[in-house]
């Protein structure tokens, strides 16, 4: 199933991105090549010999909305400057200008090295006071296709960073867990939680340390300690993997552990909600608890019942152990 969801995400994002881009091109959303009417006021006078002249840019709201066929309107005026280059006169908007759509999107393509929106000035006759002119931007095409490619590259990096960022916390808790194993805490814990956890993990032998790790994982989750819950959960998975006759196929207890963790049963509301909503969160504790508890029950029931379906039963490594390695050779 993960294969199909994964491929589905990638393929559908390509199809949708292409669809949006084709719509933008056929609808001429970015008015590529057409000059946008602007009015320029030279705050310090116009000096044709100067390479760089500061200017105040005004875009008439009515002209803007009819030019781009949009509802959004530009700000009253933008600070900017004129720049004489080999390609002619460039007009640049000051960095950090709050631009309306679609100008903001255009600014992501048609911009200077300092990330300022820039365009070529046409029909410009310098004079005293206010000068009218047209502004032509670099053509904007395939915005969404670029966006999905960018997103893929950025998040590939993020994925590696998240994983590497876990090293320290993982090392800390895996070290503590090793002490717990060697000193017999895990074993004592197994005895304690066996009556509760055994029904959920009938395939795990009653004295197996996996049950102790699962108990620690659940405790950390319930108290909202994600930092500790992840290493404990990973350790529990490793213990379960030792019981797994196959190398790369999940067993029923593994799916159960995962389902319990994805349900995210916790008694302490997430820190983020506290930060965002403050004391408002007090009124939400009860609905959050109810929902998370019911979701937890659904997760357990789903993991158990789905495992009994013929297709998933056939793929269970414990039902059909893979042939010992090297037999064919």
């Amino acid at each position: 199933m993960l294969n199909y969801i994964w491929a589905g995400l990638i393929v559908s994002s390509f199809v949708f991105a292409l669809g949006y881009d084709v719509r933008d091109i056929t609808g001429d959303r970015y008015r590529n090549g057409h000059p946008l009417p602007v009015e320029l006021t030279f705050t310090e006078g116009y000096d044709p010999a100067a390479r760089r002249v500061p200017v105040e840019i005004r875009i008439e709201p009515g002209a803007y909305t009819s030019f781009y066929r949009t509802e959004q309107v530009p700000a009253a005026s933008y600070p900017g400057y004129l720049l004489q280059t080999q390609e002619g006169t460039q007009l640049r908007f000051g960095a950090g200008a709050k631009l309306p759509e679609p100008l903001a999107t255009i600014g992501r393509v048609s911009r200077s090295r300092e990330e300022e929106l820039q365009g070529r000035l046409v029909g410009f006759t310098p004079g005293a006071g206010v000068a009218a002119a047209g502004l032509v931007f670099e053509p904007v095409r395939f915005v969404k296709l670029n966006a999905i490619a960018d997103a893929a590259l950025t998040f590939a990096k993020t994925g590696a960073e998240i994983a590497l960022g876990l090293i320290g916390v993982l090392a800390l808790f895996l070290g503590l867990l090793k002490i717990a194993e060697d000193s017999g805490i895990v074993f004592a814990l197994v005895k304690l939680v066996r009556p509760v956890l055994r029904p959920l993990f009938p395939e795990v032998p009653p004295d197996h340390p996996a049950l102790g790790m699962i108990a620690l994982n659940l405790t950390a989750t319930v108290f909202g300690l994600g930092n500790a819950a992840t290493p404990f959960g990973i350790k529990a998975m490793e213990e379960l993997q030792k019981l797994n006759p196959s190398e790369d196929t999940a067993t029923n207890p593994m799916v159960m552990l995962l389902a319990i963790n994805t349900a995210g049963l916790q008694l302490v509301p997430p820190v983020l909600l506290l930060a965002l909503m403050g004391t408002q969160i007090n009124t939400l504790i009860f609905p959050i608890l109810t929902t998370t508890l019911l979701g937890f029950i659904v997760a357990i029931v789903a993991a158990r019942l789905l495992g009994r379906l013929p297709g998933y039963r056939a793929s269970d490594p414990n039902q059909n152990p893979p042939p010992p390695a090297g037999r064919e050779a």
């Binding site: 997103a151 994925g159 590497l164 000193s183 999940a250 909600l273 939400l284 979701g295 789903a302 789905l306």
Partner: protein, 180 residues
């Protein structure tokens, strides 16, 4: 209710210190070479983190592409009439979908909705309950299964998504029952 909440909050402050101090202390009592044991176990941290990378990259980049493509808006529009039938507000559909896919994405959505509808609105309460009552299924799958090299996930995805779906619907109902 408030007393229970305070007790839980207080307890949650003590769990990690208890583990940090309690485990080595008990180890000393049992005459375990605690320092050696710790280092032995901590060694694994690096390998586990590195082992997770391919799984996390695979999941995160696909989800990021999907979010950047604008497919979500199209999906929201397409599913709007169906949602009306089960009494699920269409404004919450992006939240319901993103919750299983991306933790940071769903957090950003909660912030967006607070700005748009205000803290006291029913929609924001529903979104907050959705955020608070569920975990990011695909992230958990990538990390936990990635750590032990499980590629064939069997019924883990359907079970996780079923639980998420139930939690999303229950969140809307409970908030509506209590505040609606």
């Amino acid at each position: 209710m408030d007393a229970a909440r305070n007790a839980i909050n207080l307890l949650s402050f003590f769990v990690i210190p208890l583990i940090l101090v309690g485990f080595p202390l008990y180890g000393l009592y049992k005459r375990v070479p605690v320092y050696e044991s710790f280092v032995e176990g901590a060694k694994e941290g690096f390998q586990v983190a590195v082992r997770i990378i391919p799984y996390l990259v695979a999941i995160l980049f696909a989800i990021a592409m999907f979010r950047a493509s604008g497919a979500m808006e199209a999906l929201t529009r397409a599913l709007d009439p169906v949602l009306g039938l089960i009494g699920f507000p269409a404004e919450l559909l992006p939240m319901a979908i993103i919750r299983s896919l991306s933790g940071s994405g769903s957090a950003a959505l909660v912030v967006d909705m607070i700005n748009q509808y205000g803290e006291d609105s029913l929609l924001v309460k529903m979104a907050a309950v959705m955020y608070g009552s569920s975990e990011t299924t695909f992230y958990v799958i990538a990390v936990y299964f990635g750590a032990v090299g499980i590629k064939k996930t069997r019924h883990a995805v359907p079970a996780g998504l079923l639980a998420d779906f139930a939690a999303m619907v229950i969140a809307v109902w409970t908030v509506r029952l209590l505040f609606g």
